[in-house]
Amino acid sequence: MTATTTLPAIELKSVGKTFRVSGGILGKDRHVVAVDGVSFAVAPGGVLGVVGESGCGKSTLARLILGLLTPDSGDIAVEGQRIVDMDRKARARLIQPVFQDPFSSLNPLTRVRDIVAMPLQAQGTFSRAEIAKRVDEMLERVGLPGEMGNRLPAELSGGQRQRVAIARALVLRPRIVVCDEPTSALDVSVQAQILNLLAELRRDLGLTYLFISHNLAVVEHVASEVAVMYLGRIVEKRPTQALFHQPEHPYTQALLASVLTPEPGLGVPDVGLGDVMPDPANIPPGCRFHPRCPVAEPRCSTQMPPLRPRPGGGVECLLAS
């Protein structure tokens, strides 16, 4: 099959999700816009990196794609099938999550081997012998051989727990893995181990990743294309090289400028964003970035920027040609 006729591994069309948050006894209910009109497609075998500040909607996006949340609007398809139409077992065979916190995402009373076996058991179609064999293979594959399988999560380091979470996600041999900040709770030396493992598994097993991180350096290392989120919208999406070398959106530029590479003598840059913080319950009119944008013009506070197409994506800024 040529690339043009291949179904995207993940496809979103104008997906939106708003949460209603109670305002307490006196306050009015607030509407938190977590994801707003998001569209993109990820080709099989690709890695889409998603970056943005805390609260911009990254995890909500992940949970929508995993079918853990239902969108208010729009469509989500995984390998051509609408995720909301799939039953849980079929979904589990196709797409799996790896979450940030290796401490809370594993049951503390369950041994490693049983944690990894659970998705196989839930399918109800595997024999005990087959489950044991697959679990052993998987544990070996993620670097937890032998007696490690008999340990409890508390007896493992953060990196080892994340290996367990990866084994659990891959044991059903899914096609797609959604990684939500898989290394954010880990130290750099352990982060490097886990990133290398994820890259190796993707190559060997032909996986597609949606890879969420607030660490741009990590995203550059793993992603083939990158989407930058701001207050629920994707404001720029481009192939990784293009985004890192010619970022077009002022927010992408600010994010990149904020990365403190370990290069002595460069000092800390002025990213020019002021002290206004984005509030997803109070989305500014016009371009939602305008209160912080260092190059905003008067029209930016009234006019919503249209999507300007770019090879492999686009940019939402009135100044973009």
Binding site: N215, A217, A254
Partner: protein
């Protein structure tokens, strides 16, 4: 004149079981930003708390020397320490909500610190608080003084913490991971601010972090900690250009650098994990992860000098 803060062979244990800090030495000069860097659990926070004599119950510190402005901190009683804390030496923590009281306004917390230590009127203290909030880049300081901590974003709270720490014109500021909980954009703003204040006020700044990017950008001097020991210390440019300790070398290879990395190549990594170390541990704490380890590394490892001001703890020759 001796350094602002001098620590020699600091040991901290908890209940005879964990040795959190094992013979760590470091100095902070006046007007210097000294970064203490290392992975989670290596003893950075415990070192800071030991300096301030704020260790949790069961924590016990000893040292050959622990002086601040030539005053022996080991001999000071609680009242003596209380006189220094928040005054000549101040501290900022990672999570500002742990040190801001939710029940009081920003203004009353900021002025209280100053009035506890200095004989000034409420008016003078309020003026100083408003002035400092402005200096840390907070718009409408007058309004902020009347607000409660929960009404501010994380980035604003951390700015308030910095302003509060500066109320009594400290000589030494200890900042423990002051930006780890913040977004990268806010982190850059806060660090820029800290570096600027440090220069303008000539502060000695001991900045604790696990992020080598931060170290490279703002430190004059760096000490690398591993399993409770300072394993290498050097001027920043020197450490990044010519790291001597195998752990420092490994750490520098692990950091992905935008624009510098080949995607098809794996990142450098350090195999294994930090060992749990109890009292009586001997030899190099890094030896089960070190590719240069040999039998001698299980015994006492020498302190060596690679160049003036560049020391490391390893058997390997410079």
């Amino acid at each position: 004149m001796s350094a602002l803060l001098e620590i020699e062979r600091l040991e901290v244990g908890f209940g005879g079981r964990t040795s959190a800090v094992r013979g760590a030495s470091l100095t902070v000069e006046r007007g210097e930003t000294h970064c203490l860097v290392g992975e989670s659990g290596c003893g950075k926070s415990v070192t800071a708390l030991a300096i301030m004599n704020l260790l949790a119950r069961g924590g016990h510190r000893t040292a050959q020397r622990l002086t601040f402005q030539d005053e022996d901190l080991l001999k000071l009683d609680d009242r003596g320490m209380a006189r220094l804390r928040g005054n000549a030496m101040a501290m900022i923590f990672q999570e500002p909500m742990t040190s801001l009281n939710p029940a009081y306004t920003i203004g009353s917390q900021m002025t209280e610190v100053m009035r506890r230590h200095k004989k000034v009127s409420q008016r003078v203290a309020t003026d100083r608080a408003a002035d400092l909030l402005g200096r840390v880049g907070i718009t409408a300081p007058g309004l902020r003084l009347g607000q409660f901590p929960h009404q501010l974003s994380g980035g604003l709270r951390q700015r308030v913490m910095i302003a509060m720490a500066l109320m009594c014109e400290p000589q030494l500021l200890i900042a423990d991971e002051p930006t780890t909980a913040l977004d990268v954009t806010v982190q850059a703003q806060i660090l820029r601010l800290l570096a600027q204040l440090q220069r303008d006020l000539g502060l000695g700044l001991l900045l604790i972090t696990h992020d080598l990017g931060i170290v490279a950008r703002i430190a004059h001097r760096v000490s690398v900690m591993y399993a409770g020991e300072v394993v290498e210390s050097a001027a920043t440019a020197q450490l990044f250009a010519d790291p001597k300790h195998p752990y420092t070398q490994g750490l520098l290879r692990c950091v992905p650098v935008p624009g510098k990395q080949r995607q098809d190549e794996p990142l450098g990594s350090i195999p294994g994990t930090v060992p749990r170390i109890g009292p009586g541990f001997e030899g190099c704490g890094f030896r089960d992860r070190c590719s240069f380890a040999d039998a001698t590394c299980a015994h006492t490892v020498p302190h060596q000098t690679a160049a003036p001001g560049h020391d490391y703890l390893c058997r390997l020759a410079p």
